[in-house]
Symmetry: C2
Subunit: 342 residues, 2 copies
């Protein structure tokens, strides 16, 4: 099931197309500059509102996949899956303001194109659309299920925002430790990866979604730690982000946090000098930081921490109520996340 | 019914207390920096989460009042009213970033206290709480009504954000006309003043809320035009905003737009020189702008436009389905809005 070019299982990728089409139609015929910004961010900036949804749409595709794998109807979870995808996108638009990121998915970010003040509005608008989509797209299911899903999504989003607060706070501190980092991404990243499994359960009528949610959380760690690896050792033309942006912006990503806590001697000193004392890093300094991280062993450690979370996730996956084919697909999917190049 | 110190009818003010208590309890026992910022903004920054809700809570109080006046149960509309109040507050937190406003309600704004990036998070968190409050506070009413209310609120919020987009876009233009201004505030301000009447109708079972919503929209114009008047001729110690902030920040408020369109000769030239060519206005320049506006007649015109909208609103009010006592209270309330000092 992984002979797809990106390594995402076909049964997940198939749902991505449904989500993309539904989002496109939902944001299409709306007038005004707010919706113009929103469509641009999503990838539907053509004059007639057509285009390709940007991003992997992992979260929403997994929600549909999960409903299917629990014997539910993917169509029923679709509006909630769209809602989740729009929440993720609202967070990206605001995150780019906070990171002063000029690029997103290979082109100018909304905040670069329209300025940070208008980007605040674009994110806010996406947030409203995320709630409205769940209510308005309509899935013929019970209002009770929709309210349960809205409640769950609101709480996941709130956790994600708490993670953002922690991330910004964290970025200002010189001390860093792996525990603090993990706590922060448990909110910032894991919340929206627990959500698809929870939504799949809600609409399929599975009452105890504990193990599925726990699997989603572990996938979240894998996802973020790999993301941090790519931010330093990935190929920028694949990630669609600016070259070396994580190091230029001196993010407290996993490799850096690990190195600060575990490094010693000259490499650690050099890392601290460059990372915590200079204002902006130049090209040769970025290269020096990267070398220091490698000397400390942070590159290898980042890989093995991601691998370890994935092994934990696999154990949890085995104990879930999912159909056998679904477990096999999710094995492939996790392997893809662990090794992805973008 | 208007012998209350602030001029707000007692039956509206009474509901404000219920809203304030409900919001306080809803945001109280939440850990972490995000909720600390949110409680600060709302006025509940004491260590135990107590305090007085900041702001007049007009929108939420009117929602309870309307339910009452239509023979409904104010308790049923309470969660939705709280939701509306939190939407209004989320918009203020983000608006202060966009305006670079240092003060809000007499003290440091969230963006001043924690910086704009964290203020983005605080507003985002308030937005999630606005949805969650409606679902979680619980009112024993039908899920259908709650979904209808969430849908209405989402669309009002989206319109308000469209208004914000227009406002920022407008602020960059030299040409200004009253029609464009009115179109912008129809979204920016009127939307959240239509909402309370719509919510009251939803929970009271009134099917055609057209006239009530139209009354709310007209009140919105009265509110905003008076607000703009206060921003130039009000007493800063009452408004809780920085001295002369509207002129210092060169906002395209009603008096300025009116003056640009209707002024002539030396006063208009001076206004345009100062407002559209200097970067920041000093004290004496602010005073000059104020005088130019007065010479053009913008002060008087602003008053009479607000008065005219209020007379239109009164006509609409007479035709609504509200109880007689409610119409009388709303007459007083509108008169209060028209003449308020803060």
């Amino acid at each position: 099931m992984t002979d797809h070019e990106e390594g995402i299982p076909e049964r997940v990728e198939k749902h991505r197309k449904t989500v993309a089409r539904t989002i496109r139609d939902y944001v299409r015929d709306r007038d005004g500059r707010l919706h113009e910004m929103i469509r641009y961010h999503l990838g539907f900036e053509a004059a007639d509102g057509s285009g390709e949804l940007k991003g992997k749409a992992i979260r929403s595709s997994l929600a549909l996949f999960t409903a299917d794998a629990l014997g539910g109807d993917p169509e029923e979870v679709l509006p909630a899956a769209v809602s989740l995808e729009l929440i993720h996108n609202f967070s990206l638009v605001h995150d780019d303001i906070q990171d002063d990121a000029g690029k997103r998915r290979g082109r100018a970010s909304v905040q670069k194109k329209w300025g940070p003040d208008q980007a605040i509005n674009a994110g806010d608008g996406l947030k409203d659309l995320s709630t409205l989509a769940l209510i308005e797209i309509g899935n013929g299911t019970s209002p009770e299920k929709n309210l349960t899903a809205l409640d769950a999504l609101g709480n996941y989003s709130l956790r994600m925002i708490q993670g953002q607060v922690g991330d910004l706070y964290y970025a200002e501190r010189e001390e860093a430790d792996v525990d603090g980092y993990l706590e922060m991404i448990e909110n910032k990243t894991c919340a929206l990866l627990e959500a698809p499994f929870h939504l799949g359960a809600i609409y399929s009528g599975l009452e105890d979604a504990g193990r599925l949610i726990s699997f989603g959380k572990l996938l979240g760690y894998v996802y973020q730690i790999r993301d941090d690896w790519l931010g330093i050792w990935g190929e920028p033309e694949k990630s669609g982000k600016s070259v070396d942006s994580d190091l230029v912006e001196k993010k407290m990503s996993f490799p850096v946090v690990y190195a600060v806590q575990n490094g010693e001697g000259r490499p650690l000193e050099r890392l601290q000098e460059l990372y915590f004392q200079n204002d902006v890093l130049g090209d040769s300094e970025v290269e020096e930081v990267r070398l220091a991280l490698e000397e400390i062993g942070a590159r290898r450690a980042t890989n093995s921490w991601a691998e370890e979370y994935w092994q934990e996730a696999r154990k949890e996956l085995k104990k879930t109520d999912l159909a056998k084919w679904a477990k096999s697909d999710l094995e492939d999917f996790g392997t893809f996340l662990l090794n992805r190049k973008k």
